[in-house]
Amino acid sequence: MIMEEGREKGGGKVLSLIEKATNSTAAEVDPRLLKAIKSVVRYSDMELRLAANTLLDLMKRDHSQVRYLTLLIIDELFMRSKLFRSILVDNLDQLLSLSVGFRRTLPLPAPPAVASILRSKAIEFLEKWNSSFGIHYRQLRLGFDYLKNTLKLQFPNLQANAARIQQERAERERRSREILLKKFEMFKDNFSSIKEEIMSTIDEIGECLDIVRTNEEFMPLPPADDEYFEEFRSSELLQIRLNTLKEGEKVHENSDNKVVFDALRELYKLLETKHLVAVQEWISVLLRVEVADNRFRDSALKELIDIQNRLKSVKKKCEESGCALPNTANRDGEEDDFWEEGKIGSLESERSTVPNKQDEAFSMKVTPNKFKNRTPESSKKDCNDNEILSAEGGETNLDPLRSKLLAEAPVMNWGSFLDNWGSNRKVLTNQRGLELESHWGRVDYDTVIPAEKMPELNVHATLYEEQQTDIQPCRAPLSKGGLCQRRDLRVCPFHGPIIPRDDEGKPLNQNSLKEEISLDLGIDSIEQLAKQAVKNVRARDKEVSNKREIDKKSLKRAKLAKIREHNETVLRDAALTSTSRSASIGEDMGVADGEKPSARNKKETLSSMLHKKVTPKDRIAQRLLNSRAKDSTTRQLTLGEDANYREAFPNQWQ
């Protein structure tokens, strides 16, 4: 009635829009239509009322998809318009029973997949509505309460979850702030001592550097040759040249200043691993900490930054001065190589080995290492340029060889025999951890197993693994199109014996269909006969008597086969009237004429959604529960059992 009114008054635009929006198989409302609906409804209360009534009517449709789309639109409008809310809450029980389907007399309509989505969405929406508008609408509270406390429906509980997460985060932040504050207090107490320590280290380094320099001062520096530079236009060559020049400038370690260098190296290590990291950590603490009194913090921060800069410059000086710490660098390199092998796992373990849990420090430590591997840094280059180069070269050379070997190598399961794979040593028998203290007499600790005995003892045992045979699918044509993909060894419960078929599923060999049961035997006997015949021809001279015998046998067999064939035909005629296949042929025709091709080509519509999709499970169930199918299967199987008997006594059977 209201709709008509609306139409008469020139409204009703929203009607067609809603109609269009809900007539779709998509999982969502077309956003453009939704927007149009909203804009129409926004400026006209009449349209809004109309929309509300239309939507409530649409919820009564006997189709879950329509209801689902309608519910989506309802939610959009519900969250926006007060008038819409007030109209809707009056009919909330109806809406809920139509969308949640909690009344047993009003279950949600087909299709069931959409129905379950509809239900979960409705519950989710109700929770949302209740949390945002519950205090204004008793009906919402009631509905929510009823579904939750009486029907005990599971609500997604989004709100509470969000609140809990929020609370957890706040808790975590509070804790970290506390920790920071504690650290800050500690830092405040220890600041002077830390500073002293760092300063002393810096001073020591400075002194060491001084000593080294004074020692080497008389070393003549090679002049920078400008002409020389000009000749080398190529930047790479220039670079190399510069590097070598720099190299020349550097102070080299020798027996005289070894002690100094050692001290320097130690100090450098201390500086790098302890002080720099510590200073960075303190800076980050100071930056993050929130204290009432900022003066100390600011001043300390300033000082720390100064210290950091100084540390950096000292470090740089150290590196430049050539004390470049080959040992540490080298060790680093080794470690890197080692770690590079295992990828992610090793990173994790490295993480665990790093004593400092501070993330920044950790990342700082890790990333440069990683870099070093890829691009050898200057410090590394200084000392073991050549080595690396050669190593890399070796690796590149090795790669094809290795891959070649890998391709050849047999894949073995792990076993103890791998311990002395390819070794040619003698093995001491009594020195393998088990101590036999003269238990059965004297023990000779020097007994050996000779090398040639070892392979005998290490015979590699393997488990036999059955080769996966490919079981042929049945490939009988199905009534709904396609071929039966069931894989049975001999007999498909639905389509009888498995026989070779062409692409359309027609049996390739009609005869084989008839004689499937005794097929193996038949073929065998024929082949045997042929072989025997060939043999017999060759050995006629020798075994005439034998041939005769076989002739007799073959005759007998032929006779038997004839009788058997007759039996089979009789059987088949009897079976054909009642097999599932024959029954399904008729069906197939009917279905093929009717909707099947059209259903396949047709675009999906609301009504097509209602057709229950026949799952393989359904089909199997149908087939299995079909008494004829059961009968035919048992018949087929018993036929196989009976085959031998019948072959032996064909006359009796008839």
Binding site: R42, R80, S81, K82, D93, R138, L142
Partner: protein, 486 residues
């Protein structure tokens, strides 16, 4: 509303009609109350609701989990959502844990009509308990022969304190609080114990009407008829008259001073239309109801009203038996041993599940398991043939009806909804949807013009007149308004 106030100021409107108008205006705007929540402690369906008759302040509810609770409907216990929602928690609750509490469902909980110091509960465990409200102790206990369906006390009584109890038994018993004994046993209702059994199933389900019994036959399921007296109601005009509605479909009127019943309502004995009940001075209802009046009835208006006034004047003193000169002689002759043909009359097909006398005691509303609501003229004992647009009524349980002030509206639980019908025309005036399961009981507080309903979904809902605009401005923390983003 302002017009009425203006009229009252100028003296056009008399005080009484002014209040009546305001009240009926308010009743017309009844809707589910967002500002008043009664927090039900019950864990099963609410079977009975009553606000006390003295103060109009305490709501008593009885539920199927053998608990009864009392709420203060005027003063909230706490507030929610920034004072927007007033929560009324129960003042006390008596349940199974109580040492003398009921074991099974409480079917009926009523206040002692004179004050709030006592209340009475009737239960399916065959007992009627009389409770002291202040100590929440049982002061009196009556053992009944079967499940108690309904208890009632007369609000007019000055000379007796009898609890009328409708039970599984066909006999209605009157329990005397003063002596603690059954003072009367009123027998007249018939039992209709019919068992339909079959070999396959012994599921026992109650059936109440013919259709259902046919279905029972069809589906070969064992059924039995609910038996006994589902509803009892004291007359609102005479303290000695009791009305009972049995599962045999009969509504019987008893004068407790005499033996036997004096009137059995017969649905086929009808009177066209109704006698007008509206006195001239309270003309508010007239506008509403006169539409439905036929002109012929209007002519009769005066003498009837005259008669009513007379009945009202000395109703308490006079036996209603003697008040009907036209039929009185016949009645008196027939009573107590009424003609058997009259005695077999039925008011409903199926059981009578609800009874409610109008405020003036002239009319009786009855609900039956045949999903009919009937309005009876008590004076003549006739069915007035008002067609109430009920859709369906709950059949398995007694339902509690309520009438508004001056009885122009009757509130009837119709399955999951409560409907307000115009008593005189039968038209639906409002439908209250809010419960998610069947509604069992409703009570109208004429003092606050509020409707309380209780149902199987364990909720007690308050339906109150919509607030004034001024109140709505004060909406609480989060305002409810349009929120268009695009």
């Amino acid at each position: 509303m302002w017009k009425e106030i203006g009229d009252r100021e100028r003296g056009i409107l008399r005080p009484k009609s002014f209040t009546t108008r305001i009240k009926s205006n308010r009743i017309r705007t009844l809707q589910i109350s967002n500002h008043k929540d009664i927090v039900s402690p019950h864990r099963a369906s609410i079977n009975s609701l009553q606000v006390d008759l003295t103060e109009g302040r305490y709501l008593l509810s009885g539920a199927a989990d053998a608990s009864a609770a009392v709420y203060d409907v005027q003063r909230a216990t706490d507030y929610e959502a920034g004072g927007l929602i007033a929560k009324h928690k129960c003042l006390f609750v008596v349940d199974k844990q109580h040492e003398h509490g009921h074991k099974y469902a409480i079917s009926s909980a009523i206040w002692y009509p004179v004050d709030t110091g006592l209340f009475i509960t009737g239960s399916h465990d065959h007992h009627i308990n009389v409770w002291d409200t202040n100590t929440t102790q049982v002061v009196m206990n009556f053992k009944m022969p079967g499940k108690v369906y309904r208890t009632a006390m007369s609000s007019l009584a000055t000379t007796h304190m009898l609890i009328a109890a409708g039970t599984e038994d066909v006999q209605v018993r009157l329990c005397d609080i003063a002596s603690g004994a059954f003072s009367h046993t009123l027998s007249g209702h018939r039992g209709n114990k019919k068992f339909i059994k079959n070999n396959q199933s012994y599921r026992m389900l109650p059936i109440y009407n013919i259709e259902e019994s046919c279905l029972a036959f069809k589906y070969n399921i064992a059924f039995f008829m609910v038996d006994g007296v589902m509803t009892v109601e004291w007359s609102t005009s005479s303290e000695w008259v009791l009305v009972t509605g049995g599962c045999d479909g009969a509504i019987r009127f008893w004068d407790i001073r005499r033996a036997g019943c004096f009137l059995v309502l017969d649905q086929s004995h009808s009177q066209l239309g109704r006698r007008p009940t509206i006195p001239e001075h309270s003309a508010t209802n007239k506008a509403l109801t006169s539409k439905s009046l036929s002109s012929g009835q209007n002519l009769n208006a005066k003498p009837r009203a005259q008669q009513r006034k007379l009945a009202n004047g000395n109703g308490t003193k006079q036996s209603p038996v003697g008040r009907m000169p036209a039929k009185g002689s016949l009645r008196q002759r027939l009573h107590p041993g009424m003609l058997s043909s009259l005695d077999r009359a039925t008011a409903h097909y199926g059981a009578v599940t609800g009874l409610k006398a109008t405020e003036d005691g002239m009319y009786l509303l009855s609900a039956g398991s045949d999903s009919r609501l009937r309005l009876w003229d008590v004076e003549s004992g006739c069915n007035t043939l008002v067609n109430f647009e009920t859709v369906r009524l709950q059949a398995g349980k007694p339902i509690q009806l309520a009438t508004s002030q001056d009885s122009d509206l009757v509130f009837v639980p119709c399955m999951t909804a409560v409907k307000a019908f115009d008593v005189w025309s039968g038209n639906t005036s409002q439908t209250f949807r809010g419960h998610y399961e069947y509604v069992n009981s409703c009570w109208f507080s004429s003092q606050e013009q509020e409707l309380y309903t209780g149902g199987n979904d364990k909720q007690i809902l308050v339906w109150s007149p919509s607030r004034l605009i001024a109140d709505e401005m004060d909406e609480g923390p989060a305002q409810d308004r349009d929120n268009w983003s695009d």
